[in-house]
């Protein structure tokens, strides 16, 4: 071997060695849990440098806390949290005067109005008065009388939610109207948190906000994250596994927050057109990149009839839908077929063609 070959030999060994070393310098994992927005929020983030990863996760939680405060509808009047909630101030001034709000509340309400129109009123953030009647957040939720529901429903109408983008103000036109951002605040905050992670240099992360999932990149095995979809009737089981990469999966189900009265189950996802819990589906999962959109659409599709929901989902680019209908059928948009593993078993009917 001459000198030149020897050098080349050394160079190749060096490159191979460095590549191996780089691989074994394992990426640092930091995971953290916080009780936030009435649920448990877990963030797992990966990176090379521990202090960078920790700083990124702290920034993500800070974003979520900020949105939570702005959107919180239920603090005690007179407290600091009450004053810092834009939603409380808007509700307080209903029928009186427009309220100047934060840009994020503005963005959420614009989205809410858009999907209210797109769904012909199946999604409505002015559902507050009816929500209060049922009292799902209270100690003793109960079925209201038909008369109570009828009169509360007259206060539910997103056309009376006035948004002035120039003045940055929001106004509920009639006294007694009330916003409830429960159907979108968590998803919106999740997306904000993910953007904060990205801004701080994180390329690989999983955020689980009480079962609403948003991932960055791929998992530690360098494959798409494997996300199970909960079985709506069996506590311990999943009905399908979805591959997820740089996207979110959000589920609305009739089993999450509910009470039973007279042998009937009443859950917390109300149909704004009737004032009663929606009955078309047991569980609806939406997969799309933006967690805020996924949160809104999971509620929209849960309330709509399965046929209408599938039709609407098919028309939207980058939106996929998996549902278990009230009569036990598993249905989903065609693109999901490519990666999904359905473990329906004997519990549900699954016709792949539909």
């Amino acid at each position: 071997m001459n000198r030149k070959t020897g050098l080349l030999f050394v160079a190749i060994l060096l490159i191979g060695g460095l590549a191996t070393l780089q691989y074994f310098r394992r990426s640092y994992e930091y995971s953290s849990d916080q009780f936030l927005m009435d649920t448990l929020v877990s963030i797992k983030a990966y990176g090379k440098d521990p202090s960078t990863v920790k700083r990124a996760v702290a920034a993500a939680y800070a974003e979520m806390h900020r949105i939570a405060e702005l959107a919180d509808g239920f603090p005690q009047p007179g407290t600091a949290t009450y004053r810092s909630s834009d939603v409380c101030r808007i509700n307080e001034q209903a029928g009186k005067k427009p309220v100047r709000v934060d840009a994020d509340i503005m963005a959420m309400l614009l989205l809410a109005k858009k999907y209210n129109q797109m769904s012909d009123g199946a999604f409505d953030v002015t559902i507050g008065p009816v929500m209060d009647l049922w009292g799902f957040g209270d100690k003793n939720p109960h079925v209201p009388s038909q008369e109570q529901i009828r009169s509360a429903l007259t206060l539910v109408n997103s056309n009376d939610l006035m948004i002035d983008e120039q003045q940055h103000t929001v106004f509920l036109r009639r006294a007694g109207m009330k916003l409830d951002l429960g159907a979108l605040a968590k998803g919106y905050a999740t997306e904000k948190a993910i953007q904060a992670l990205k801004k701080n240099g994180i390329r690989k992360a999983l955020l689980d906000a009480g079962g609403s999932i948003r991932v960055l990149g791929v998992n530690l095995r360098n494959a798409p994250w494997r996300i199970g979809i909960k079985d709506p009737r069996k506590a311990d089981a999943i009905v399908a596994v979805l591959p997820l990469q740089d996207a979110s999966a959000v589920t609305s189900g009739d089993y999450y927050r509910y009470f039973e009265a007279g042998g009937k189950r009443y859950h917390h996802i109300l149909d704004p057109r009737t004032g009663y819990p929606a009955t078309s589906n047991m569980s609806v999962t939406v997969v799309t990149q933006d967690a805020g959109l996924a949160d809104i659409l999971s509620t929209v599709f849960f309330i709509l009839s399965p046929d209408k929901a599938l039709e609407m989902a098919r028309k939207m680019a980058g939106v996929e839908l998996f549902m278990i209908t009230a009569d036990g059928h598993i249905r989903h948009t065609p693109p999901l077929l490519s990666g999904i593993e359905v473990k329906a078993g004997e519990s549900y009917l699954y016709d792949q063609g539909r």
Partner: protein
């Protein structure tokens, strides 16, 4: 450079490229290690206990939550919240858990029980 040198070089180059492909690629030559299943209990963000869930080993312990003491029961490979001072009793109704990835959350007490170990999925949407 002789012919043998060239072959040797080409071979080395191939090996190093292949190993990089294997190490970074979608397939791993290292099988995942079987992790022991354990329950991790935290209260108000602080780690309280880690308990290996082992067949035949039973215990119960009291956790100080934000709204008072809660009782946790371990029955071999499963764990549950036996009693909690909250009004909702959501955590108690949750029943037994024991599979990696499962959690029991007590919101008022800010108590979290999480099963850790090699899970078949990374997370569950619900």
């Amino acid at each position: 450079m002789t012919r043998a040198d060239k072959i040797l070089l080409a071979g080395l180059l191939l090996i190093s490229l292949l190993s990089v492909a294997v190490l970074y690629g979608r397939f791993s030559i290292f099988p995942a290690k079987a992790e022991p299943v354990q329950a991790v209990i935290t209260a108000q963000g602080k780690l309280v206990r880690k308990i290996y869930l082992t067949e035949g080993v039973n215990s119960s312990l009291v956790i100080q939550g934000r709204v008072g003491p809660a009782t946790v029961e371990v029955d071999g490979t499963r764990i549950r919240m036996m009693g909690a001072p909250c009004t909702g009793q959501v955590c108690v109704k949750e029943g037994w858990i024991g599979r990696p990835g499962q959690t029991i959350v007590c919101m008022p007490g800010e108590i979290l029980i999480r099963i850790e170990g090699a899970a078949p999925v990374d997370a569950v949407t619900r």
